[in-house]
Amino acid sequence: MTITVRPSALKRRRQQLRDMPAATGRGLDDRLQLASPGLRTLLNKVFPDHWSFLLGEIALWSFVMLLLTGTFLALFFDPSMEEVTYNGSYTALSGVEMSRAYESTLTLSFDVRGGLLIRQMHHWSALLFLAAIVVHFLRIFFTGAYRKPREINYLIGVAMFWLAFLLGFTGYTLPDDALSGSGLRIAHAIILSIPVLGTWTASALFDGDFPGTAIMPRVFILHVFLLPLALLGLITAHLLIMFKQMHTQWPGAGRSNRNVVGERFFPRYISKQTSFLLIVFGVIAALGGLFQINPVWLFGPYKAAVVSVATQPDWYVLFLEGSTRLFPSWEIRFPLFGEHFTIPTLFWPGVVLPGILTTLVVAYPFYEARKLKDKQIHNLLQRPRDVPVRTGLGAMGVTFWLVLTLSGANDVIASTFDISLNATTWAGRIGAVVLPPLAYWVTHRVCLGLQQHDRQVLSHGVETGILRRRPDGGFMEVHQPLGPTDPHGHGELEYTGAPVPKKMNRLGALAPATRGFLAPVERPSTPPTEPPTPNGYEGTEVAGTDQSR
């Protein structure tokens, strides 16, 4: 028996397949009335194309990865403080008494298929999440993207940083290994150091004294439910506002405060973002598979008597560790209403300092707008060099933060580079005071210098590399003006804060370049039919190649 397919049936099937997307769309629209101006606006939202606008997406996709891997981990992790004896496959801990939380972390790592990989991916994506948040914040700050109308999103961003910070810290705490126990102990001490409120808050959080058995389930609920929920809400708000407002863009030809030059959300931007999501996932998976992170099995279960040199928090908490290490041990004691009060040292570097830093970050956009009496809507970014004071202040903040962060790891630095620990502490103390102003001054000068060079090119033109000898014997370089010139030969283009071409290649000396991986791919240009002929140079070869074409 043979089966014969009639050609007409095949044809019909092919036709049906071709119509499927349209049919599906029509079917959906019939039922849900999707086709609306709103959807059209959404799909047509224009995103400008620049790598620095993708930094926030790194954070977004690592958060998605955190949710996915975190869900897997939650299936096997048990936040109980019940004392158990370990009998799993990691022999170096067999028979050791530990909490159920630590035991389930070990089981998750060694006895669940793929558990260690997922745990490491979760931790790496947490680090990447916070790193991306910080890098994204720096982009926003240094380009002035926080100016009106984007202050709300800026504030949401700062709030999200602190939520992510808490999420990271609670996640660091959960395994209940010796490292996380030491971290929790420091957090407990910081809470205790707050005058009046501290003792009450600490005992309410820990249900009594440290550590107790209540804290771990509470931290767990914070880590897997409350904080992610709050973060998810803020991410939604952040993205909605971003969609509602126009996207910022760099100034340039054809770009103004009222338009956005780029590509539509659908289909180009969304397909790019899908591939970017997969790249971020890939990087996280590679990190999780290749780089060992947080080897809790080496640290052992938390015991109050156990501590190690090089006990550090994850990198985003390191600046507080550093401030604590650098701050002099000033303890304030005073009598009040017949009682004796103490403000422990830890209060200043642990509570006041992050408070001041956050206040400065939150207040800066409003301070700047007020100072400049600026009530305009800004959709064009500013290049860092064009606002030297802001860039300098930013550099100052980054330097201060870097000094604190490095000081947080000063024992590792001391032992790795064979420096005295005391010397690194003093280097940090002096550095925290001296380096930020220095960074401000250097950055300010660099910004002015870069501006100066832009102005110079606008006024005198681009260096061509062609040297001429003057009749008096001196040499001069021929400059190519960028636009019309005044009688003195000076360019008449205004300084607008947009990039200024500084190479002849960008002015058509070479053929229009295609965009390459990092820099434009420049090919030798087809020689112009009338080559610029400096004296004594005749274009015979050029003419020859022209004919051959």
């Binding site: 970017f276 060992q292 080897p295 052992g300 040199v309 990198w315 010397a423």
Partner: protein, 272 residues
């Protein structure tokens, strides 16, 4: 008034003098006797050194005498007295290359030992014998595999290690900084005998873990754990980031993670 009580006739001056000198002589004789009885070193010094120790003495005079002095009783601001440090200290310091020291600094640095192979073993034994015979002190057990008795007690050794050692040598045995330029070394290269000798003698900033603090069996367990740490490998991946914990992990997320993803943004934004 005691004039009522009958008193003996006062002794003549000559007799009084005689009595006191006899008592003085007796006291001196007693003191001398006690001194000889309780100061064995005096007698020991007179004993001839064993042949190995004599060889050690020769080595000592060539390599150590400039800092530790003629009778190993130390030179101020240069080297401590070696009387009573025992062979454990000699074995640790010489076999790890710490002694002889290159220069005076916060602490002696480990370096390739002055001698190699069998020569090193022989010279360490000779110097150990010399110092031991000179002033006694903690002695080392024999053999090279000192953790043999603790094969199955790695986990217990781990608990002891975390309580006694990790505060300076770190959880993973990588070592760390101490104050004023001193540091706890990494245990990665340490042999069983070196670890044992270090615990017994407490070199430099390290406290002594005598047999009252950690019994020989417990010492064996700690050694078993330290050696297990080295052989354990890293289940978490190809790169262990020095087992430093969060510090190097933070460095890695920027140098590897952020760099890789930012390259991806450059690529994606460049391909439009």
């Amino acid at each position: 008034m005691t004039s009522q009580t009958p008193s003996r006739r006062p002794r003549s001056r000559a007799r009084r003098r005689l009595g006191s000198s006899v008592r003085l002589l007796a006291a001196l004789a007693l003191a001398g006797f006690l001194y000889t009885a309780f100061a064995p070193g005096l007698a020991a010094q007179d004993q001839p050194l064993s042949p190995t120790a004599a060889e050690g003495e020769e080595l000592y005079q060539r390599n150590c005498i400039s800092c530790h002095g003629r009778n190993a009783d130390g030179v101020e601001d240069r080297g401590p007295s070696l009387v009573g440090v025992g062979e454990a200290a000699v074995e640790f310091q010489v076999s790890t290359g710490r002694m002889p020291m290159t220069r005076q600094e916060a602490q002696a640095q480990a370096k390739p030992p002055k001698w190699q192979g069998e020569e090193l073993e022989r010279n360490v034994a000779a110097l150990s014998a010399y110092i031991q015979e000179l002033g006694g002190g903690p002695q080392m057990p024999a053999g090279t595999d000192l953790a043999e008795s603790a094969e199955g007690a790695v986990a217990r050794g781990g608990e002891l290690y975390r309580i006694n050692c990790s505060s300076c040598h770190a959880y993973s045995g990588g070592g760390g900084a101490l104050s004023s330029g001193a540091s706890a070394p990494s245990l990665a290269e340490a042999t069983d005998r070196q670890i044992y000798a270090a615990m017994l003698s407490g070199p430099q900033n390290m406290p002594v873990f005598g047999d009252n603090q950690l019994t020989p069996e417990e010492k064996a367990e700690v050694i078993a754990f330290i050696q297990h740490l080295q052989e354990d490998g890293d289940p978490g991946g190809v790169f262990n980031l020095g087992r430093f914990g969060p510090t190097t992990e933070g460095l890695a997320i920027f140098l590897v993670g952020i760099v890789a993803v930012v390259f991806a943004t450059l690529w994606i934004a460049g391909k439009s």
